[in-house]
């Protein structure tokens, strides 16, 4: 899947928790989940659980540590999909 395709799949997931709707509309690789989308840190775990369900992958704690922005989320999803 290309970055664009992954962002298209990621957007409705983060939309459930993003408080900054303008930043959501402009979502791109540099978008930070907490600083830009204003996702509550307790909801970041929901994003991760939703990503696991959507892509049928398991995100270990080590990967989760880095999942603070779209770029690293996409890298992690791609790496996990490649190993399936």
């Amino acid at each position: 899947m290309s970055n664009e395709e992954l962002i298209i799949k990621l957007k409705p997931i983060v939309a459930n928790y993003a408080q900054d709707k303008l930043a959501l509309e402009q979502i791109n690789l540099d978008t930070d989940f907490i600083k830009d989308l204003k996702i509550n840190s307790a909801n970041l775990v929901d994003v991760i659980l939703d990503v696991e369900e959507e892509f049928d992958i398991v995100i270990d704690n080590e990967s989760m540590e880095r999942m603070l922005n779209v770029q690293s989320a996409i890298e992690i999803i791609e790496a996990k999909l490649a190993r399936k």
Partner: protein, 154 residues
């Protein structure tokens, strides 16, 4: 250096379903999960432990300038709850933090410091407002959640 974190319990109930499968194990150690499952008010324990972790994490990230989402690496210990207050420790990256919490009907608020002496002199101001950019004086740490805004001063 001090940190603080507030959780609006009504907002948390609306926004977070901690009973969701897989949720607790991504945030809490097995000891912490036991504290939650064995408590008569598990909701309260979830957010008490969460504010302890967040208040300690805020100190660490301000010093290290590094960010990570590793809540289970922030380990809560020695938690003692007495009426509506609680004290405890959090360890993270080999650093020990002391915490003190207040458990109210509508919110839970925790302050953290590296030293007990500093923890004892922290002044706390909690107000109800939607204006999250509001400031009084020069607070050392600010936390907002839902309708609450908390300032702490060392």
């Amino acid at each position: 250096m001090i940190g603080n974190d507030i959780v609006d319990l009504e907002q948390a109930e609306r926004d977070s379903n901690w009973k969701r499968p897989g949720y607790l194990s991504k945030l809490f150690t097995s000891e912490e999960q036991f504290l939650i499952s064995s408590n008569i008010q598990p909701d309260c324990m979830v957010w008490l432990l969460w504010t302890m972790k967040e208040s300690a994490y805020k100190i660490d990230s301000r010093i290290s300038k590094l960010r990570e989402f590793a809540p289970a690496k922030l380990v809560c210990n020695n938690l003692i709850i007495h009426d509506n207050t609680a004290t405890g420790n959090v360890t993270y990256n080999d650093q020990l933090y002391f915490t003190k919490s207040v458990i109210e009907e509508s919110y839970i608020h925790t302050i953290a410091s590296i030293t007990l002496e500093e923890l004892e002199v922290i002044k706390i101001q909690i107000i109800e407002t939607k204006e999250h950019s509001l400031r009084f004086g020069n607070p050392d740490s600010v936390s907002h959640h839902g309708k609450f805004l908390a300032f702490v001063y060392a």
